[in-house]
Structure formats: structure tokens, C-alpha cells
Symmetry: C2
Subunit: 250 residues, 2 copies
């Protein structure tokens, strides 16, 4: 196995297409990932069409890699297919609710990570876009997602045209807890975040943004309360539109 | 690489412990999975203590494998550690909202699948428990999860003591869509679900439950509207308790 310990996200791709056949075979293999009650509550929308990519790029704040990647994958939580099956079999589906959305999102993300691991084994590079939840409504419209289908994660895929440095990770003891959660003291925080804070790029971003430290770059610019509140409202609106917040049995 | 195409979930384990060192090294490697803004919004609670496992088993409907597995892993969405860091650095965290929960859950599930893939590469068997969202409140209490930490997925881990048949999967064309979502016609549904419906175990469960078909086993017994509504309410309550549904900036 290609060492997972050496993986890195890839944002620059060669102008070489990724074959439909390869995507299909990776999706087939990835579907072996565990799934809730073996319901496979996901769909994968594969976008190679430049016009559709251009429209999707708007939803992803026009990040260059969305247009440059030969393939854009939108992993969707999907309770529509399962519900259609139920309807065709005189079984009454009751999946327009939050826990069903969350079960479907779980299936989708396990499938997505399995796909990415397998794709990287084949020499492809991937990058996840955290922007999928910024504008779910736009993505729903562009891809024509029906009721009970919701975009959960977008991944760019292609053959790597860069060999970036690995980004840092917290020391593993910072994420592990034995038998119960042990909350973090200020001393724990200092120790866990020390390496990250001392990186040249952390200092660079701190200076660039005119903040006192890296944490302030996140709270003031990258993941702000104001943006989070606005996105949460848009997410609730989109979940409601997609039928995942229905109170009554329909 | 051990063929992912041949993977299966393992529910019976040898009475052999899984070393802390191995879990730690798998967690370290899995933390190379992609993460939103490199924030690593997850924690992993590792439970090998039989008393804690016994208490957790109640939250998981006393499924035998929860007690029998040498290790139980509770993968938690965690915005607490990051927020503590912010607080220690005079940065004001604004992560008590739905989109932050969802970002953390995404990170957590990508990390969880990476962990499971790597664990299986080492000869371990794993099984995900879909019951984590049934009783999040109980798990939160047992593990002492603070504000902004939420249990997302539980996984049992151990050395396999069974070699089960692979379960079925839908044909891959049933989950793939090109450029946009193509909704399913009744004919599509018949074709996609034909193999699953013709399996001996599908007929067995249909007969056992006295239903007309497999879909009705799901809607009437396994994933019912009534249970889903009750669980959705418990999930909202637990999300509120953990501070992920605060409207105001605190």
C-alpha cells in the first residue's frame, strides 16, 4: 500500500482526463465501505463537463482547482433512491427527518473517504472542498438534486501536477482519549498547538492578516462567527427545501 | 494493498487484546486524511475497560459485539479543543452552530473511515454501529463529553474470529450520476434492486417479519418513521445540550 502516512492533498492537476471507467471502478470498490443497514444512502455526481464545472465553481467561491481539475465529484446524501424503492413496493418511507439525513451523510462520508483512499492508491490526487456547505442551495439547483438528496462533500480529482509539502497535524495524543474525555487545560493546549504555531506559514498568515496569532486568523477571517451563522441558516433552509426537516409523516 | 473490494464487516472477535500502541499508530496515520482548514475537528475515545463498555452497550441496544470486541472506538465531532485553543489565544470562537457541527462531523467521518481502512490493512476487523445517533445523550454522559463535542460514529475493533460472506451492494450504475442527478423511474428501481431482492436472506427476513417484501421490513421494523422522529428529537436535544444550536454569539 502507498503509505497513507505520506498522503497530501493535491490542488494542481495535469491536463489529462480521468477515464469514466476508472471513476466507475473506484466507486464500485469504495461502495464496499460499511453502510447503515446496508442501505447505501449516497449518490455520486461526476462532473467533467466544463460548463457544469463553471457553474459549480460559483458555489465554491471560484477556487481555481474547481475549473482546473478534470473531474469534480459531488458526494450526496441520498434517501431519495431508497424511498423510491419503498414507494414502488407499497412500503411507506419515513425519511424526511434529521436523523435520516445524518445517517445518509454518514454513509456518504465513509464512502467518500474510501473513494479518495482508493483513488490515491491509483496515482490520482484529490482535494476536498469545505465549501459544499457554504452554498448547498446553489449546488442543489445546478445538479438538479431532488427531495431527500443533499450535497455533503465535493472532491476535486486528477493526476498530480505538484508535489507539495505535507501540512502539519496535531500530535496524536492531542486527539486520543482513554475510556472517557479528558478536557484540555491551558497547558495541554500550549503543548498540542506548539508545533503548529511555530511553523513559518503560521507566522506568515498571522502577519498577512495583521493578527496577534494564528487562532485569531481563524476566528476573525477564515471561520468567523458571522459566516458560520449565515451558513447555518442557509443549511437549515436547504435541508428544509430537500425535505429533511418535515415534522409530519407524509 | 489488501483488496478493499473484498472487505466485510466483522462482528465476532478473538479474545485477544488490541494494543494501545497499535491504536495510537493507526490514529496517527489516519489523521493524514483531509480535514477542513486543517482544523482536525475530531477526538477519538478508545474504550477497552469492560465496565465502561458495559455502560456503553446500553446505549447501543446491548448488541453482543459491543461487549465482545476488545476495543470500542467512539469517534466524536470536536470543536471544543479548537475553541479552547482560541480562548487561550485571545481569539473569540464562534462555533456553537449547525454548520460548525457539520464541518466537525465531516472531519470525524473522513478520519473514521481512514482509520478503519488502515486497521483492516493490519489484519483487524471492524464494524460500525449505526446506533450512535439513537442515544447520543447517554453516550455524552458516559464518556463525559463537554460542550462542542458530539459522538458521531462508534466502531468495534478486534482480530476476526469469523469469515462471513460479503453482503450485497447495489450495482454501481445505481449510485453514479453524470453531470447532474437523473431521478429513478420505477424501471430503474426494479433493475437496481433486483439482485438484492432475490437474495435468500432477503426472502428470509421478509418471511420472518411477515411482510410482502424487503422494503417493508425496513419501513415497518428496521428504520421506521416513528423511531426516526423520536431519534431526530433526541438528536436535536443532544446537539442543543452540547452547544451546537446556540443562536447568539456567546
Amino acid at each position: 500500500m502507498k503509505k497513507f502516512a505520506e498522503r497530501r492533498s493535491i490542488r494542481k492537476y495535469k491536463a489529462v482526463p480521468v477515464s469514466e471507467k476508472l471513476i466507475r471502478s473506484l466507486a464500485e470498490e469504495a461502495s464496499r465501505a460499511a453502510t447503515m443497514g446496508n442501505m447505501q444512502l449516497y449518490s455520486l455526481v461526476v462532473t467533467a463537463d466544463p460548463e457544469v464545472k463553471l457553474r459549480l465553481a460559483d458555489a465554491h467561491h471560484r477556487q481555481p482547482m474547481v475549473l482546473e481539475a478534470p473531474v469534480l465529484l459531488t458526494f450526496c446524501a441520498d434517501f431519495n433512491r431508497f424511498s423510491r424503492w419503498c414507494e414502488c413496493r407499497d412500503a411507506v418511507p419515513g425519511y424526511g427527518n434529521l436523523v435520516s439525513f445524518f445517517n445518509a451523510a454518514t454513509d456518504t462520508l465513509l464512502f467518500a473517504q474510501a473513494f479518495c483512499t482508493l483513488a490515491e492508491e491509483c496515482g490520482l490526487g484529490t482535494c476536498i472542498l469545505g465549501t459544499t456547505v457554504d452554498n448547498p442551495g446553489m449546488i442543489i439547483d445546478i445538479l438538479g438534486l431532488p427531495r431527500l438528496v443533499f450535497p455533503v462533500l465535493t472532491v476535486t480529482v486528477g493526476y498530480p501536477d505538484e508535489a507539495p509539502q505535507q501540512t502539519d497535524r496535531l500530535p496524536v495524543e492531542g486527539i486520543l482519549h482513554e475510556n472517557g474525555y479528558r478536557d484540555y487545560s491551558p497547558e495541554d493546549i500550549d503543548r498540542i498547538y506548539a508545533a503548529k504555531e511555530s511553523l513559518p506559514e503560521s507566522r506568515y498568515f498571522t502577519e498577512l492578516n495583521g493578527t496577534d496569532n494564528l487562532a485569531q486568523v481563524f476566528t476573525r477571517f477564515r471561520f468567523t462567527w458571522k459566516d458560520n451563522i449565515a451558513m447555518s441558516e442557509k443549511m437549515v433552509e436547504a435541508l428544509r427545501k430537500q425535505g429533511f426537516l418535515e415534522k409530519k409523516f407524509d
